[in-house]
């Protein structure tokens, strides 16, 4: 595998980074942001949407911020520990990502902006040629989606990040910066339902940091990750839950690795709380009903969907200390 050539840029501040992005946009040059590179660079080696320019965020000081309520995009996953003042739920989730080696490089920003995955997409060029290309990786070819053929609009690649649902149930917001300035929005509004677009980042915009509300500190949580091996593997399904001890109305549930985006199940939770109260089985049923995985990861979608029930039950059980 040969890394395609690209020009690497090292801006030293948010302003420089944004200016650089703006000038590249103006010149019509495509580029990617890179933090730890553990997601982007392997994709480049597979010739999955490589760009001629790559802008590193490593030189931006504020991107390295790490405090209980503010985590910069460049913070490596290995630093998300309780000892560093990070919320125990985030520490638990971060420790379940990939392997210890990868966690040294992989970052919070990278994990939140993780490219969606699909076994028709995450393949080498020769392989994709043999399926007559994939519409997510090889846009110029007019190829179809191989997961659900005969539809050429939506990409159903799966979002398999571990941190997002956990940040969601803690009520996190993300700060995005770009040529048009800075904006803050709840993390669950950051993702956009299309495996191709993935999130609401506009051209030239990047995720600078995640901010947690004060109330997050009162919350306890649980993250249930389904995977075949206890190392390396992306989640095949993941359920995060949190609440303020003894306050069912504070319950939040979010899922990952089941669709193109991680989802906060606020509506389902509210409904169940109203009818059944804090009932693990009822919650499990509601979340199970809300997600529709497709066949593009290691385990079959029917099974992954069934597991949503088990994982939700277990997460709620863990919250209630059973």
């Amino acid at each position: 595998m040969l890394m395609p050539p690209f020009e690497l840029h090292h801006p030293a501040s948010v302003e420089d980074a944004v200016a650089l992005a703006a000038s590249l946009l103006e010149a019509g040059e495509a580029f990617d942001w890179v933090a730890g590179g553990t997601d982007v660079l392997p994709n480049y080696k597979w010739h999955i949407n490589p760009k001629p320019h790559v802008i590193s965020l490593a030189g931006i000081e504020s991107a390295h911020a790490l405090s209980p309520l503010e985590i910069g995009c460049m913070v490596p996953l290995a630093s998300l520990t309780v000892a560093n003042g990070v919320h125990p739920l985030l520490a638990e989730a971060a420790a379940k990502v990939a392997s210890s080696l990868i966690r040294k490089s992989a970052t919070v920003g990278g994990n939140l902006c993780l490219d969606t995955r699909c076994f028709w997409y995450n393949q080498g060029e020769d392989w994709r040629r043999s399926i007559d290309w994939c519409h997510k990786a090889d846009c110029g070819t007019g190829a179809d989606c191989r997961v659900i053929p005969n539809q050429n609009t939506l990409c159903v690649a799966t979002y398999q990040g571990d941190l997002a649902p956990n940040f969601m149930v803690l009520g996190a917001e993300v700060v995005l910066v770009g040529p048009k300035g800075e904006r803050t929005l709840p993390l669950h509004e950051f993702y956009a339902l299309d495996g191709m677009k993935k999130n609401v980042l506009e051209e030239g915009e990047f995720l600078l940091k995640v901010v947690l509300p004060e109330t997050a500190l009162e919350r306890t949580g649980s993250y249930q990750k389904l995977r075949v091996r206890d190392s390396w593997d992306f989640p095949e399904a993941g359920i995060a839950a949190s609440w303020i001890q003894g306050q069912p109305e504070s319950l939040a549930l979010a899922s990952t690795a089941l669709e193109s985006i991680p989802r906060l199940h606020a509506e389902e939770v509210a409904q169940v709380l109203q009818t059944d109260g804090m009932n693990g089985s009822a919650l499990a049923k509601a979340v199970h009903k809300a997600v529709k995985p497709v066949n593009n990861t290691a385990l079959p979608p029917r099974y992954r969907r069934s597991m949503v029930r088990t994982l939700t039950k277990r997460a709620v059980k863990a919250l209630m200390g059973e």
Partner: protein, 933 residues
């Protein structure tokens, strides 16, 4: 015991303490020590057999090699001799070979599953600046293949491509980027053909069979090989006391070695090809290169680099090796080709995806009256080792149990997928799993303990299987007893709570293939070793045995060190080049330690005798009363009378120079005369028994194996450290196959997971604690009693885990691997069937011993004494499979019972009831179809 001073040029009294020399005397370090240790080490009696006066226990009696033991190396745990090179990163693997002026080769691969190449236009490729050479299938039309009977491969596709990733053309350029760019410039006109993916479809007639074998082709099917074997009295099958029937689907698995394939080819200034490749079997590559390139073998030097793991996946001659040689020949420069991981999966040669059906029956005395096996195996696009695999899937199930009858139908079909081939435990693994699980099921229906069922049905040492294999040493009973005890089986089996389980599995494997496939076994040895000892005393050993990490170089060094009583550091094994190595068949079928070490012992004994004869001349004592110990030869009854190793060596070298000896090993004539009788024949067999403990999460279907007790009979552990490494490594590989590893072919027939993230090899987290138990049955023909330990230990882990999962949840699962979705589906189905709702309410299976239990226990006890006497050759009466059923071993079995049959073709009335693979017998070969016409 005191130590004796060496006899250097200057005696110890004459050595000056001021560091100056004594006139006329040499003061170089003590001869032969090779280092600063001036003293001879005392004889290590703990490692000299009790049969020759030492203290090493020999429960199986004496061994022909006992007299060659010196207590130096054999039986001692020592690091592999090449471990320093590996741990310091200095070992040179395929891609580490960098020759000046090298070009980079890249291979154009088929994007189609099955297609005819109508034309290839290379003009644009050749016009690209930086491209130096281009080759297509037309440049090398000669066919090759690892087995002489099934040569169906070309360097690159000549007429058709047979799977996605099949080789179409290749190009050499000044750098990788140019070579990759060049691949996009080939203009190819394809005629896409209808592919076949399902091996069951492969049994049917097709317009365009994947290969064509002329008059031997089976109708118009894609059947590459069909096998029928039947032995014994089939009437026993009727009215069984107990029976089991299991239909299995086992997905293909890959070796998952660390080092991807890589090759460097260079035609030297004299026009000889120098080919560097990480090969398990350099000799076959040597032969294939000669055929494909039309160059005599003596004009080719195959240099085996360090091999970064092989496990059977680097034992075929490979088309990319031919490509590199072709590109290097036409460019006049060295060409290097290194695979991406994806390409590794496309060349494959992994374990065959299999449909296996096993039926078995037992009679009222708990004897196994029949095994019926049907194995349909998916060969992918090429034959590879498949001819042999087709036999092994059946015949390697004929032991370790005594059978009333045996019936096997097997078929290997070509499909449009990467070729399957040989992988650790070749051909035996899948059937073994099905058989061992069947026994577990049958034991349950008989209400007996499955270990007691096995112990009461074992073939004894020095016996013959139903198919005619010669069993010599046999440590099966000891292995079973030790895992039973170690795991505390009797307190756990069928007594653990839901989700916790324990299971048993056994294994049986060849230790070397009895038949060298390229020459007459009656005349030419399987393995040859040359030893050369020059004035410095260092011993150079030339062998063609390919060290693929299993430690064959260490084994050869150890046995030579043992015979010559020299420290292992003084033995230098040279095994990399075909120019200097004697011909060797390579590292497959677990033959290397058995055959090469045997050859090495013979060569070393010849050198030893030359040294002893020289000492005889010097001391006046006959070799019979001379003792060879650490760098010194002395009189048995007065150790002060002796000569140093170097003195004896120099005496022996007088007038003739370096001592040179060769040793060879050839297995004795064995086996029956029926068609396929040679498949599975081996000079010795290994036996193993494992107990595995698992945890099953009944709500997710996740299985984790927590503990394994792994007993393996390797005859004699030449190096216990290496044997334990092989046992633990085998466990890891087998666990992968039974729990997580699979080659996934999706809806469109594409291999979906050709990478190490999605091809899920267990990580350190999934690895259980493995208690490696070495059983030493001392094989009469093995080197110092040794047998294989590299492949056999893989077999039992699969059934042990599957049986343990049953013990944990009470559900028989027969789709491998047991990924969580497979287990969960099984649980869901079972819940539906039993009307339960919550998986946590599943009942755990329990065992209430039936009346047969006592019978089996008693028989097992009595057989233990039978086996001990036979193992020690105190009982040398004949024993053939069938004695347990009351047959007289000294008369032909067919004379004793009417229904006894030995057949290699089905009877017409059998045709209707054959299994999937058996259906291949409904078709006729082309030559017989013409007869009919």
């Amino acid at each position: 015991m005191g130590s004796y001073k060496q006899q250097p040029g200057a005696s110890s009294a004459e050595i000056r303490k001021d560091g100056k020399r004594v006139a006329g005397k040499q003061s170089f370090p003590p001869p032969g020590s090779g280092g600063s240790d001036p003293s001879m080490r005392p004889r290590d009696l703990d490692f000299i057999p009790e049969t020759v006066g030492g203290r090493e226990p020999k429960p199986a009696g004496d061994h022909i090699h006992d007299r060659a033991r010196t207590g130096t190396s054999v039986g001692k745990a020592m690091p592999l001799v090449d471990s320093n090179a590996k741990v310091t990163g200095q070992a040179w693997y395929g891609d580490d070979v960098r020759l000046p002026g090298e070009l980079i080769g890249k291979i154009l691969r088929s994007p189609h599953h099955y297609a005819r190449i109508k034309s290839i236009d290379t003009s644009k490729v050749e016009a690209l600046p930086g491209v130096v050479a281009v080759a297509t299938g037309q440049d090398a039309p000669n066919r090759f293949g690892v087995l002489p009977v099934t040569k169906d491969e070309h360097a690159m596709a000549v007429e058709k491509v047979r799977h996605v990733g099949d080789l179409v053309a290749c190009v050499a350029a000044v750098d990788e980027a140019t070579a990759i760019e060049a691949l996009s410039l080939f203009e190819i006109e394809w005629e896409v053909l209808e592919p076949v993916f399902d091996p069951k479809e492969g049994l049917e007639d097709h317009d365009e069979p994947i290969h064509w074998r002329g008059k031997y082709h089976l109708a118009r099917t894609n059947v590459q090989k069909r096998v029928f074997q039947e032995f014994g009295d089939r009437s026993l099958v009727n009215n069984p006391h107990a029976a089991s029937h299991g239909s299995w689907t086992m997905l293909g698995v890959h070796h998952g070695f660390t080092e991807p394939h890589a090759v460097v080819a260079h035609w030297d200034p004299n026009g000889r090809l120098q080919l560097y490749t990480p090969q398990q079997v350099p000799h076959y590559t040597h032969r294939a290169l000669s055929t494909v390139l039309d160059v005599p073998m003596h004009q080719i030097n195959v240099i085996r680099t360090f091999v970064g793991g092989g496990f059977g996946g680097k034992s075929d001659p490979f088309p990319h090796e031919m490509c590199a040689a072709l590109l290097a020949r036409s460019s006049g420069k060295p060409v290097r080709i290194t695979f991406d991981r994806e390409e590794v999966y496309w060349i494959n040669r992994g374990r065959h995806p299999s449909h296996i059906d096993v039926k078995m029956t037992a009679d009222e005395e708990g004897r196994i009256s029949s095994f019926d096996i049907d194995a349909l195996i998916d060969g992918g696009g090429f034959a590879s080792f498949g001819h042999v695999t087709s036999y092994y899937n059946g015949v390697l199930a004929t032991a370790p149990y005594e059978l009333g009858s045996f019936h096997y139908t097997g078929a290997r079909v070509w499909t449009n997928k990467p070729a399957s081939g040989a992988m650790r435990g070749h051909g035996a693994v899948n059937t073994r799993c099905a058989v061992e699980v069947g026994l577990d099921e049958m034991a349950e229906s008989m209400q007996v303990d499955p270990i007691d069922l096995r112990l009461a049905n074992l073939l004894p040492p020095h016996s013959r299987t139903i198919s005619g294999f010669r069993i010599t040493s046999n440590g099966m009973r000891e292995a079973l007893e030790r895992v039973r005890e170690g795991s505390n089986w009797d307190e756990k089996f069928r007594q653990l709570p839901l989700g916790k389980g324990i299971g048993i599995g056994c294994g049986f494997f060849i230790s070397g293939s009895g038949l060298p496939i390229h020459w007459d076994p009656k005349n030419f040895p399987h393995a040859t070793v040359h030893i050369q000892v020059d004035m410095d005393g260092g011993v150079t050993v030339h062998t063609g045995a390919a060290d693929i990490g299993q430690g064959s170089t260490t084994a050869v060094a150890q046995v030579v060190s043992e015979v010559l009583a020299l420290p292992v550091e003084m033995i230098h094994v040279r095994s990399h080049e075909s120019d200097t190595s004697p011909v060797d068949l390579g590292s497959y079928s677990s033959r290397v330690t058995f055959m090469n070490a045997n050859a090495a012992i013979r060569a070393a004994i010849e050198i030893r005798d030359q040294l002893l004869n020289a000492a005889w001349q010097m001391l006046g004592y006959h070799p019979n009363v001379l003792v060879l110990n650490d760098r010194r030869i002395y009189y048995k009854h007065d150790p002060s009378i002796g000569v140093s190793y170097l003195e004896a060596l120099h005496k022996a070298q007088e007038d003739k120079g370096a001592l040179i000896a060769r040793g060879a090993y050839r297995s004795p004539p064995m086996g029956g005369v029926h068609k396929g009788a040679a498949a599975g024949l081996a000079p010795a067999y290994s036996f193993s028994a494992y107990v595995a403990e698992v945890d099953v999460d009944v709500e997710t279907g996740l299985v984790s194996c927590t503990n394994v007790w792994a007993a393996h009979d390797c005859g004699k552990a030449l190096n216990p450290l290496a044997v334990k490494g092989q046992i633990i490594g085998s466990c890891h590989m087998g666990l992968g196959q039974v729990l997580t590893e699979k080659m996934v072919y999706g809806r469109t027939g594409h291999l979906q997971n050709a990478n190490l993230l999605e091809y899920k090899i267990p990580s350190v987290h999934e690895m259980p604690h493995v208690e490696a138990i070495i059983v030493e049955s001392s094989d009469p023909e093995g080197p110092f009693g040794a047998k294989e330990a590299g492949e056999g230990p893989l077999l039992p882990i699969l059934p042990a885990v599957v049986n343990a999962v049953y013990d944990a949840i009470g559900i028989r699962l027969r789709d491998l691997p047991l990924t969580p979705d497979v287990v969960y589906n099984g649980i869901e189905k079972h819940l539906k069937k039993t009307g339960l709702e919550d998986p946590l309410d599943l009942p755990s299976p329990r065992l209430q011993h039936g009346t047969l239990q006592a019978t089996l226990k008693a028989r097992g006890e009595s057989h233990r004494e039978r086996d001990r006497l036979r193992q020690r050759s105190e009982d040398t009466s004949a024993y053939v499979n069938g004695v347990l059923f009351g047959f007289d071993p000294d008369r032909p079995l067919a004379d004793q019972v009417e229904g006894w049959r030995e057949a290699d073709e089905p009877l017409p009335e059998q045709l209707a009831e054959l299994g999937f693979a058996g259906r291949a017998w409904l078709k006729k070969e082309q030559r017989h179809m013409e007869d009919d016409a």
